[in-house]
């Protein structure tokens, strides 16, 4: 089992929160490929089989459509399934049940649908076009789904607890690049963090950077650099994409009058499009510059390092765009 030694990784935090909820609620179970004896492809559920048994730690055949629909049926009659997709790329195989069964069911019937779907996503691991996808845009248009994308170990824990306790289908996306790279400073509070609340993770006066997931640590590093140049960047961590905390974004942009959106997903119809549309409509008269979007290029994610680095946003590019928008 994961242990909190005071500097738990992002990966540990996910495991700690999941264990906490399985301890707290006998209706919570984890289902997916190789989650049992193997402890999951990234080892999030290492030790869970021994502790909770095969009844609550369920290894399935390779059948994303089937086990996602299974989770929906189990949730309908009172359980709280946590589904693990081995890689977020494979959630494409469950797109149909997620969109047509899980997301629509409550609106259609009034029945609750408490299913949490965990998926490790993202690039920068040289894993190539079908092992590196950011999948939030595939689902952000779908009414009835919530989308959670933590950027820190602390949020990973608190938001997973809230996701599991939520009565709606929640897509909980874990940035696999952060798994062993981010560490908590101090013990992880195993308390729920409400969904739908963004957080100003750095105060600033010149420009607002709206981001989420890996963009948060990336953005904070760049902001620290720009500070030395005298550019004061306020960093807003969305934490939850759906529902979107419009108030926090708008308050920050009205203060700074300039906004940049950053994500690792491709630009076209990345979630930055929605955020930009909201900002320009809510803050139009306060904006000194157009909202800028920093995102991956509109290509699949290549495998080879020089290619992948050219596609995914790099600190230099982020700094340059922030500098340009802040000082224009």
């Amino acid at each position: 089992m994961p242990t909190d030694n005071g500097n738990a990784t992002y990966l540990d935090a996910v495991g700690l929160a999941l264990e906490h909820e399985m301890d707290a609620d006998p209706d919570v179970f984890i289902i997916g490929e190789d989650v049992g004896q193997f402890g999951g492809a990234f080892k999030v559920t290492k030790g869970f089989l021994e502790k909770f048994g095969a009844r609550r730690v369920v290894d399935t055949p390779i059948a994303e459509t089937g086990f996602t629909g299974l989770a929906a049926g189990a949730a309908l009659v009172g359980l709280r399934p946590v589904v693990e997709f081995q890689f977020a790329d494979f959630i494409s195989c469950a797109f149909d049940p997620i969109v047509n069964v899980l997301a629509r069911h409550h609106f259609r019937t009034g029945d609750p649908m408490p299913v949490t779907m965990r998926a490790p996503f993202g690039a920068r691991l040289r894993a190539g076009p079908t092992h590196s996808q950011s999948v939030e845009s595939y689902f952000a248009h779908v009414p009835g789904l919530k989308i959670v994308m933590p950027g820190t170990p602390e949020d990973a824990a608190g938001l997973l607890i809230s996701s599991i306790r939520d009565n709606n289908p929640v897509l909980y996306l874990e940035n696999k690049y952060l798994y062993r790279r981010l560490r908590a400073s101090g013990p992880i509070p195993l308390e729920p963090i409400p969904l739908g609340q963004a957080k100003v993770v750095r105060e600033g006066t010149d420009i607002t950077l709206v981001t989420y997931s890996a963009g948060v640590s990336q953005g904070l590093e760049v902001a620290a650099e720009l500070d030395k140049e005298g550019v004061s960047v306020e960093v807003v961590d969305l934490r939850t994409l759906v529902p979107l905390d419009v108030e926090t974004i708008v308050a920050s942009v009205k203060k700074t009058s300039r906004a940049v959106v950053l994500h690792e997903a491709a630009l076209r119809m990345g979630y930055g499009a929605e955020i930009t549309a909201v900002i320009q409509s809510e803050c139009f008269w306060h904006l000194d510059q157009p909202v800028a979007r920093i995102a991956a290029k509109n290509t699949p994610t290549p495998t080879s390092p020089p290619l992948e680095d050219a596609v995914v946003p790099q600190p230099a590019e982020i700094a340059q765009v922030l500098r340009k928008v802040a000082t224009a």
């Binding site: 089937g66 019937t109 709606n168």
Partner: protein, 336 residues
């Protein structure tokens, strides 16, 4: 072939005279009511009372009622668009079904969904979306929950012959068998999937034999014989309840109407319809019960009369019911 072997070994079914007459009567009454309500709805469709098209289950009555009758009320049911009979068996009100096809505020979904999407979870019935057979993965999930909780509830899912070609069907049967879930899978083979005949849908000898691919028993029964369906389901349910895992049942019948009422179905050979018209499941069961002395002509007359009146009253109520209030349409996209 396991399926034939299985049938060969099966004990001779008990004659109607040796069965619980109250049960037989209730199966009969529900089949008659199903037919009466659907005939009424066909008239309503032609009369322009309904919103969109109408899906009916003519010649499916013995399957939907016979299978539902072999379950306990607390067993889970995942029916499709041919299974009005299963809903009625569980206590669904005919006017609610009509209200669904009319988009009325009183439909089980309050008009948010409509047509065939009226399943009520309070009756342990799943309300499926249009995608077929999306009810299969959900059904194994309900069976999973029963096993998870140590309950002896069973989950039964219906689907059509065409639905066996899809992802959901395969992945569900495979998972259910590997996890030994208390599930019963019923394939209502009505010879067509919309316009697609069997030979363009599957090259297997039949549908029951597909059970071999999942290591579960499969049996093929006459879907116009309510008792044959009841017995096969009862056997599969007993197996599931005992913790021995899922079974597959192929119930053979004919889709006597178009895919839906808008479909003239001129792709169906006329001779085929004539042949099958001789096998009306409701009439067949009626005759069986008359011969067994479970019913007499007077009883038949009153059951049919009551069913007809029930359908007429249901229409009256549904017609009179209000349309939903649009002001709250954005409420309830998310649960609290």
């Amino acid at each position: 072939m396991p399926t034939t072997r299985k049938k060969a070994n099966a004990p001779a079914p008990a004659p109607p005279s040796e069965r619980d007459p109250a049960l037989l009567r209730r199966i009969y009454e529900t089949m008659v009511l199903t037919r009466a309500v659907e005939d009424r709805m066909v008239a309503m469709y032609k009369g322009g009372d309904l919103l969109g098209s109408l899906y009916t289950g003519h010649w499916h009555e013995a399957i939907s009622v016979g299978a539902a009758a072999a379950l306990r009320p607390d067993d889970y049911l995942a029916p499709i668009h041919r299974d009005l009979g299963a809903h009625l068996w569980r206590g669904m009100e005919p006017w609610q079904v009509m209200a669904s096809f009319m988009g009325k505020a009183t439909s089980p979904t309050g008009g948010r969904d409509g047509t065939l999407h009226y399943g009520r979870l309070d009756l342990n019935i799943y309300n499926l979306p249009s995608h077929i057979p999306a009810n299969y993965p959900v059904a194994i999930g309900m069976g999973f929950a029963a096993k998870y909780r140590g309950e002896d509830r069973v989950s039964l899912a219906f689907c059509g012959d065409g639905s066996t070609s899809r992802a959901d069907w395969h992945e569900s049967l495979n998972i259910a068998s590997v996890l030994k879930l208390p599930c019963v899978f019923v394939v209502e083979n009505n010879q067509f999937a919309y316009s697609t005949p069997l030979q363009l849908q599957s090259a297997s000898e039949n549908f029951a034999i597909k059970a071999v691919a999942y290591g579960m028993p499969g049996v093929k029964v006459d879907g116009t014989d309510a008792l044959a369906v009841y017995d096969a389901t009862a056997e599969a349910v007993a197996r599931a309840r005992a913790g021995d895992g899922p079974s597959l049942i192929e119930a053979v019948t004919m889709r006597m109407h178009g895919h839906a009422e808008h479909d003239p179905a001129d792709y169906v050979p006329r001779e085929m319809l004539e042949e099958w018209s001789k096998k009306d499941p409701v009439e067949l069961f009626e005759r069986t019960l008359l011969e067994a002395g479970v019913l007499d002509d007077a009883a038949v007359k009153s059951v049919r009369g009551q069913a007809r009146q029930h359908a007429i009253d249901a229409r009256k109520k549904a017609m009179a019911d209000p349309m939903p209030d649009p002001t709250t349409v954005e409420v309830g996209v998310y649960a609290d």
